[in-house]
Amino acid sequence: MVEQIPLEAAVNKIEDGMTVMVGGFIGSGAPDQILELLAQRGIKDLTLIANDTGILGDALSQLIVNRCLRKVIASHIGTNPETGKQMLAGELEVQLVPQGTLVEQIRSAGAGLGGFLTPTGVATIVEEGKQKIRIDDKEYLLELPLGADVALLRAYKADPAGNLVYRRAARNFNPVMATAAKTVIAQVEKIVPLGEIDPDEVMTPGIFVHYLVQARPKGVAQHG
C-alpha cells in the first residue's frame, strides 16, 4: 500500500548502515530533494548502489562529500572526483561494476533469480572471485543478485496507487531499482488523480512503491 509522506518523513525511513539504491544517471532522474536532506542529516555507514556518485556539487555527491557512506557499488565515479580521492586514500570502499552487469544484478534480485551469466568482464579484473561457466564454447561470468533495504527513485508523475511514469532519459535505473528493495520511496514531480494514468502508460506498477514524496517546486527552499 502506497502512502504519501513529507520529505522529512521519507528521509527518516533511512537508517545508518542501510544499503540504499539511488536511481539516476549523472544526476538525471536522481531524487535530489531526498538526497540533499539525507546528506544534511549526517546519516552514516550507508552502502550506496547507483550508476555513479553524481557530479561534484549535486545532491548525490553530497553523500560522499559529507562522508555518509561506507561503501559504493557503481559503474562510474569519474564525474565526482571526491569519490576517487576517498577511495585512493583508503577511506571509502568502492566496487566498480560494468553498467550492464549492475542493472542486471539489480533486476535479478527484483525478479527472484539467483543470478545470470554475462560475457561482460571475462578476461578482465571484473572476473576475480567469480565462478566462470562455459556454455557452447563461450565463457561467461556468473553474476549474483543485488538487492537493497531502500530504493530512492525519482519519477515524473504518480497516482495514488503508486503507479509511476518517468520522463525521457530520467528513467534509467529507476524502474529496475523499484523491484529490488524492501522499501521503495519515490520523489515525484506531480501526483495525479486515480485513473488519470492509463494502464499502458505506467512504467512502474504501484505495487512496487511504498512511499510517494511530492517534490517541492524548484526555487522554493528545500526545507527548514
Partner: protein, 210 residues
C-alpha cells in the same frame, strides 16, 4: 598536416565506417563531431546508453530539457522516431548484439584486439561505465584515439599492460596517423593519414604492422 588537421582527418575517417540505418554508440566526446562528419546521404541511429535511441544534436540555448541528457551528462535532443527506455533494455540493446558499431577512445590497444580504456591502477579509476558491455556486445568495435600518449609513447601495442576492458573485441583502430584492422595475423595497416609514411607510423607502433 598539423595535429588539429590530423584529428579532423580521424573524425572524418571514423564517420565513413557507417552505413544508413546502423545503430551506433559513440563514446563520450565523440558524438557531436562524428555525427556531424557523416557523408551526405548516410543516416545512422545513435544510442545513448543512459536510455534512449535517436540521440540528436545539442539543443539550442534556452531549449535545454533537464531530462534529456546524453551518457556524458550533457544536454541533448531526441530526434523524431527516437525512443526512451530503462537501463535494463539499454543494455539488452548493447550486450545483445543490437548495436552495429561502437566507437571508443583507448589508453592502450594491441594486436590481438585487446582494449584497455578504463583505469590506471593507483591513479585514474573513473570506472568502466558501460564500456565493458559495449565492447563485448557491439557487432563492431572501433577504437578512435591519438596514436601516441602525451609523453610520446605508443598506445598501439603488442600486448596491453593496463587492466583490460575486454579481450579480443576490437575490430578497427583509427588514429590520427592511420587505420589498422585487427586480423588473426595481427594489425593490418589499411590506410595512412595524409602525409604520414609507413616508417613514421611503424616507428610509434609497438606491434608489427602488416
Amino acid at each position: 598536416m598539423d595535429k588539429a588537421a590530423r584529428m579532423e582527418w580521424l573524425i572524418q575517417r571514423v564517420a565513413r565506417e557507417f552505413k544508413t540505418g546502423d545503430v551506433v554508440n559513440l563514446g563520450i566526446g565523440m558524438p557531436v563531431k562524428v555525427a556531424n562528419a557523416l557523408p551526405d546521404g548516410i543516416t545512422i541511429i545513435l544510442q545513448s546508453e543512459n536510455g534512449f535511441l535517436g540521440l540528436g544534436p545539442s539543443p539550442q540555448e534556452g531549449q535545454e530539457d533537464p531530462d534529456v541528457v546524453n551518457a556524458g551528462g550533457k544536454y541533448s535532443t531526441i530526434l523524431p522516431g527516437g525512443s526512451c527506455f530503462d537501463s535494463a533494455l539499454s543494455f539488452t540493446i548493447i550486450r545483445g548484439g543490437h548495436v552495429d558499431a561502437t566507437v571508443l577512445g583507448a589508453l592502450q590497444v594491441d594486436e590481438e584486439g585487446n582494449l584497455a580504456n578504463w583505469m590506471i591502477p593507483g591513479k585514474m579509476v573513473p570506472g568502466m561505465g558501460g564500456a565493458m558491455d559495449l565492447v563485448v556486445g557491439a557487432r563492431r568495435v572501433i577504437v578512435a584515439m591519438e596514436h601516441t600518449a602525451k609523453n610520446g609513447s605508443s598506445k598501439v601495442l603488442k600486448r596491453c599492460s593496463l587492466p583490460l576492458t575486454a579481450a579480443r573485441q576490437v575490430n578497427l583502430i583509427v588514429t590520427d596517423m592511420g587505420v589498422m584492422e585487427v586480423t588473426p595475423q595481427g594489425l593490418a595497416l589499411q590506410e595512412m593519414a595524409p602525409g604520414v609514411t609507413f616508417e613514421e607510423i611503424q616507428a610509434v607502433t609497438k606491434a608489427k604492422l602488416l
